[in-house]
Amino acid sequence: MTTVLQTYGLTKAFGSKLAVDHVDMRIERGDIYGFIGKNGAGKTTLMRMVLSLALPTAGSFELFGAAPNEQSRKRIGSLVETPGFYKNCSARENLMRFAILYGADVSEVDEILRQIGLEGTGNKKAGKFSLGMKQRLGIGIALLSHPEFIVLDEPVNGLDPAGIMEMRNLIQRLNREKGTTFLISSHLLDELSKIATRFGIINNGKLVEEIRPEELREKDGSRTRFVVNDPQAAVAALGALAAPQELSIRDYAVLVEGHQKEVPQLNRLLVEAGIEVSSISHESGGLEKYFMERIGG
């Protein structure tokens, strides 16, 4: 069994408005699934249905290859919308309570406090925390009991740059060392593109596309930039492999669209033509550009 989440026509209506419109999506074990969409696109609503916080209007979904039940839902950790915690309790007391509820080893609490950077908060009440600290506490609660699948809705909201990097490292480490699967929504596309192994683009409740990073690089207008001493000659030499519309000149560089896997061959063509190549680099159209094109923005 390799599928952690599979949805079948999952739909949620609020009155006449379809917040989630017949979504079929699949998340494989070990994925870091980046969920991208504008505000109000349906990301949070779909996450809430997966967590059984919202009841679907139509459709269904499977968790770990079967219909969701109490046991499969215990294997999921989450942070959706704002972090939930008891304002009049310290970070440690919050984690202790949920450790008891989730059946986690209470010895995990201090380790998680350290992982989320709240080990020094002592008896300070969580209601007095900064936005970033509250977010960290929410993530800490999601990590209790080592869930196999973690759903994070805007996890870096309120975090400073150091916190964002820590969060990224934590997600990657859990994914690498424990095989934890993630479903993450974020507006920081650049940040998401650094860690996600798959992307799902949602717009007006519909899943527009699911795409892997390597497919994205082929489609997102990525180009290879060769800085050469004679751009015109370089274009002529590269014509053996690339079509004329794929080649362009900018300053002392030749830009080649596509052919990401043929960079060594392109370089050999230039060298054999006696053209000096001073640098080769990759220019990405980027996830943001591709996302805006797909949602028609």
Binding site: R48, L51, S52, L53, A54, L55, E70, Q71, S72, R73, K74, I76, G77, S78, V80, E81, T82, P83, G84, F85, Y86, K87, N88, C89, E93, M96, R97, F98, I100, L101, Y102, G103, I141
Partner: protein, 264 residues
Amino acid sequence: MGRLLRFEIRKLFRQTSFYVCLAVLAALVFIGIFSTWSMIRLTQSELGVELDLGILGMFGEADRFSGRGYLLTALGGNSFSLILGIFISLYVCLDYVGGTAKNIIGRGISRGQFIASRQLMLAGASLLFSLLAWGLSFALGTVYFGAGKGWGLKDLLQLAVQFAVVLAYAAFFSFFAFLIKKSGGSIAFTIFAPMLISLGLALADIFTDKLKFNLSEFWLDGCMSLCTGLEASAQELIRCGITAGVYVIVFAGLTHLIVGRQDV
């Protein structure tokens, strides 16, 4: 369910509002009994005579001023139900206001278990509130006026029925707290709804005088008033008990039926 109850017990006994409400209840009980005793002593000293407390008892209730009398009337009046209602509002709404309901239901706890655990805890908390009111009332009443006489098995029936009415209040207030999900709104409901319902039923009784019964006697306040009276008959107590039981079943059931199908 065991872990859920451990979680709820830890939450209850670390909730400041629980102790504040208990303290306020204790204070009101003490002030009520002490002020009555003080008034009587003052009157006696001014008149220079020993007053017959049986005559002083309102509506001809003999033995009103005694440990037994205060025990059996401890839950009467509006203070007890108001304090209980405020606590229930704060307890039920805490997980919605703080967003922790997502952490609970999102991790495999079913809505039914979520609601049932709270209902069990509120029943336990209601028992603690009742025991405090009874215990303190009996103790202070005995200290100031003596233990009293006329003890019998009917007293036990009366206390049991009173607790049934307390559970009915708990079911009623918790149902609306689950629906409203906000502490302020729920507390406002606790304060105004019973009052308005009592008023409405009293007016209805005027216009339905051909009925053989009063509608207001079947409302929670009416039941509590009846079962905290020293002259309540066994038949009236049984009727109150059955009425309270119906309220518990209806409102506890409605909570599962309606709240159990809502988004969190």
